[in-house]
Amino acid sequence: MEEHVLVIFPHPDDEAFGVAGTILSHTQAGTPVTYACLTLGEMGRNMGRPLIANRETLPEIRKNELNEACRLLGIEDLRRFGMRDKTVEFADEDALQSRIFDMIEEVNPSLIITFYPGYAVHPDHDATGAAVIQAVRRLPEGERPTVHALAFSEGCEQVLGEPDIVYDVSEYSDQKMKVIEAHKSQTAGVIETMKKRFLEEDETMKERMSTERFWTYPI
């Protein structure tokens, strides 16, 4: 059992798709989870179906969705970094690493979950993962938390090999679906199809909802 888990992602909803079951397994076991979310996904293309948001109202809407997702996940410590969506890779790297480093020192997690830099598709994902790795490396060897990284770029398994951490989170599938649904502005267009496919025991959807996979990052 972990002592404290620190989850670091750039966008509200990053914690929903590939990680929600794992987070739930920790919070339900009584392990505190801190979630650092770097942006509010201000530049998202999805504006709800029917349209409920515009470019200027989206941040507040997504902030509320993020709060609700955290409530459903049992996350009591949410830290918003206040960066802007799409700009993480252009931010002052040293300043971002220091901010993450300070948080790691304060939270003192036994496990960090983030994106695998270079294999996480969205430039914000890669930049977040890279900043986390550099921050962890500032700690003396032997005092560094384990890092479980999420990769999903095309062909990533050919380079990284099979993920070494594979969790069966099927007991949390229903709750995970609710977390995805909580990000209404982003998922309203797909949630009904997802639920239907899940109920019909569609193999891909069942796999997506019940298995979560990570690579232990070679720190």
Binding site: M43, N46, L51, V121
Partner: protein
């Protein structure tokens, strides 16, 4: 937002001619476009809080609409606009949404800076 009413938009636009404005202009096809379809060439841009004063502005087309703002030194051009609103802060917000309701372009004009 609501579908663009060209005449009504034109009236609101004309009112802003000569004013010092902050602009948010953006096009996007989404960060996952090339991930989902490797042959897709992804391009996009955004610029936020650039200041501009236009001499005259016009909205044209039958929908989706085009907009051109002529300034002393140049132009601002946008196409693919479908929806708009004047929000409670009196900002003119325009957007173009595709068939799935996803934002493809945004053009916003405000007398005060937008939050960073």
């Amino acid at each position: 937002m609501k579908p663009i009413d060209r005449q009504f938009v034109q009236e609101n636009l004309t009112e802003l001619a000569g004013e010092s404005l902050y602009i948010h202009l953006e096009t996007t096809n989404g960060a996952y476009a090339s991930h989902k379809d490797q042959s897709f060439f992804s391009a996009g841009t955004f610029i936020r809080n650039v200041q501009l004063t236009f001499l005259h502005g016009k909205i044209t087309g039958k929908g989706p609409y085009r907009m051109g703002l002529e300034t002393e030194q140049g132009w601002l051009y946008a196409e693919g606009l479908t929806d708009w609103e004047k929000d409670e802060e009196d900002r003119l917000l325009f957007a173009g949404h595709d068939a799935e309701g996803k934002l493809a372009i945004a053009l916003e004009l405000s007398k005060k800076p937008f939050p960073k």
